[in-house]
């Protein structure tokens, strides 16, 4: 159990909490996930279909707001669902929990999706969460951070699949070999960044900016997305097993309908949405400031240029797979349809 907490693959500044509080929070969560669901439900439970949602991280944070809002503001119930939220022991285990039937609908990164398909795990992405790649390198306010300044520096990594996949692109763009930088891995980047133990950290804008801003009172510097040389693909998706898609497609449809309604509502009522999250998970370890700033930075990521939610494209999956093959993370580029379907999108 203790070790498991270590296997967490972590993105952004999620690990501002220490490990101790995670285990405490975990216990609290088990209880509070029940309260999330009971909050809006008046109709008897038997009329609702149960769905187990598995997050990508062992504890809740503001990216969970659409699910929290859907539960607390009655969007799930309106769609005939009763959704329980589960937290995996580690990020990479979400796909495994889906394949073993411990979860129905999962929240994973697109790189998790790619390695799952490579490993012949029967997983299917049913919707994008975000539409663009907002991952990059970040440093303390006022630091010198350009691709040219990377050589010889210590760069923090969470050691997860996504970060492992992205760093080679950065090095390639900077014309550096792996040995030109020191990749260090740890449990929490912010303190290390603050006291100069590391030069740069890796994260996404919606996690790095609130975290570093909270710690330093001013915004970090960063190079993000194509500026950092990484392929412009969505970071997170909703995924199910082929089995679940075939047998419970209706549930997936209802789920995405509820999430869409909840996301639109949460984008319009941001303060209320954050309040819902804090009420559902008072011990998440994140401040109201952090969650508010994080959610504000997340909202624009959720729609494509046409203002649509969820829509996946052949191009995004081909780009990702080709890029990952280029760095030898996967061996072959399968047909994009192997990865996804848009047929459940409302």
């Amino acid at each position: 159990m203790v070790l498991n907490q270590y296997y967490q693959t972590i993105r952004g500044n999620r690990m501002k909490r220490n490990f101790l509080s995670i285990s405490v929070a975990g216990a609290v969560m088990a209880l509070s996930s029940l309260t999330v669901l009971s909050a809006g439900s008046v109709a008897s439970a038997s009329t609702l279909t149960s769905v187990k949602f598995v997050y990508d991280f062992p504890g809740p944070d503001m990216e969970l707001i659409p699910v929290v809002v859907a539960a607390r503001e009655g969007f799930f119930k309106k769609n005939g669902l009763k959704v329980s939220v589960e937290f995996p022991p580690s990020t990479s285990s979400t796909t495994q929990l889906l394949t073993t039937g411990s979860g129905d609908i999962g929240f994973i990164t697109t790189s998790d999706m790619a390695v799952a398909v490579e490993a012949k795990a029967p997983i299917l992405s049913v919707a994008n969460y975000s539409m663009t790649n907002n991952w990059g390198l970040f440093a303390k306010p006022g630091s010198m951070l350009t691709l040219a300044s990377l050589k010889g520096k210590k760069i923090f990594s969470w050691g997860d699949t996504w970060t492992n996949a992205m760093i080679p692109f950065v090095l390639k763009k900077a014309h550096l070999k792996a040995s030109d930088v020191t990749i260090v891995t740890g449990a929490n980047d912010t303190p290390l960044l603050m006291n100069g133990t590391i030069d740069f950290t890796t994260s996404t804008t919606n996690y790095a900016i609130p975290g570093i801003t909270e710690a330093t009172k001013s915004a970090p510097v960063g190079i993000v997305g194509s500026a950092a040389g990484v392929p412009n693909v969505p970071v997170w998706v909703y995924a199910v097993t082929h089995n679940y898609a075939n047998q419970h497609g209706k549930n997936v449809k209802k789920f995405l309908a509820a999430i869409k309604a909840a996301t639109i509502w949460a984008s319009a009522h941001r303060a209320k949405a954050v309040a819902d999250f804090i009420a559902a998970y008072p011990k998440s370890g994140y401040s109201k400031f952090y969650s508010t700033k994080g959610w504000n930075l997340t909202v624009p990521l959720l729609t494509n240029k046409a203002g649509k939610y969820f829509v996946q494209t052949n191009a995004q999956w081909t780009t990702l797979a080709t890029a990952l093959k280029g760095i030898n993370l996967i061996k072959s580029v399968p047909a994009p349809s192997t990865y996804y379907t848009n047929k459940f999108i409302p």
């Binding site: 990479s92 285990s93 796909t95 020191t182």
Partner: protein
């Protein structure tokens, strides 16, 4: 040791490992468990051998962290055990503090250690030592506190000073206990090194390799690295048992080897 006992001692453990692996293999095969959930035992081993050029240096690092940390912890533990036993005031002042050190979750310890000691071998060594020292301290303290009081009185009558009493009587008397602490420490040491590696690593480490394998749904890689970690732990434990075996011949032999001190060959009767 009789021949039969010897056979049981050697083949017993082998048999239990074989049975365990067979159960593992049959569950995976008959349960149709997907290879990304749990691998067949042989696949886990193959994953180690085919990636050995990558894994060997990582394994070597983990071994170093384990051994350095263990030796530091054992020395510190024995030293503290002696201090606590010899200075009653220390027992009162230091003992609660020592218990406190063990109540702190090791994982909470790692981040500040990384800040102070960086990403190299040092924080891992400290974590391993932190885990190992305590059982050693407790066992040494216990051993020293249970030395036969009459024996110490006898030594006093013989005119021995306290230092000689300690070196000649108390230290050897505590050796049996010391080894029980050392053995407990040996089983924990590699866990400490892995926790340290997960908390902070520069470049790569066995623990990170495992984490990446886990992220890539490479269950054979995950189980394979687990096998390596387990092997380090077992080999180290057996080494400690071996040292105990050599260091405490009186527990298993009726006569000393001739070359042992105080065991001059018996002169023929005149």
């Amino acid at each position: 040791m009789t021949k039969k006992k010897l056979l049981v001692n050697i083949f017993g453990p082998i048999l239990s490992v074989v049975v365990l692996i067979s159960i593992w293999q049959s569950i995976v095969v008959w349960g149709h468990i997907a290879s990304y959930i749990a691998p067949k035992p042989l696949d886990a081993v193959r994953s180690v051998t085919s990636n050995w050029s990558t894994l060997a240096p990582l394994t070597w690092w983990t071994i170093k962290e384990t051994v350095y940390g263990y030796l530091a912890g054992a020395l510190l533990g024995a030293f503290l055990g002696v201090i606590l036993s010899k200075i009653p005031l220390m027992q009162r002042v230091l003992y609660p503090l020592l218990i406190l050190t063990q109540a702190i979750p090791i994982i909470a310890l790692a981040p500040p250690l990384v800040m102070i000691l960086g990403f190299g071998v040092m924080p891992k060594v400290v974590i391993v030592a932190w885990i190992v020292f305590f059982p050693v301290t407790v066992s040494v303290l216990d051993g020293l506190n249970h030395v036969d009081k009459d024996l110490l009185t006898l030594a006093k009558v013989f005119g021995a000073n306290p230092l000689r009493r300690f070196v000649v009587l108390e230290m050897p008397a505590a050796v049996t206990q010391l080894f029980s602490g050392l053995k407990i420490g040996a089983t924990y040491a590699v866990t400490g090194a892995i926790i340290g590696e997960l908390a902070a690593s520069s470049g790569s480490s066995l623990a990170l390799y495992q984490r990446s394998a886990s992220g890539a749904l490479d269950a054979a890689g995950v189980y394979g690295t687990t096998l390596i970690m387990t092997a380090i732990g077992i080999v180290w434990f057996l080494l400690v048992v071996g040292v105990e075996f050599l260091a405490t011949p009186w527990q298993r032999r009726s006569t000393a080897r001739r070359w042992r001190r105080g065991a001059k060959p018996v002169l023929p009767n005149n």
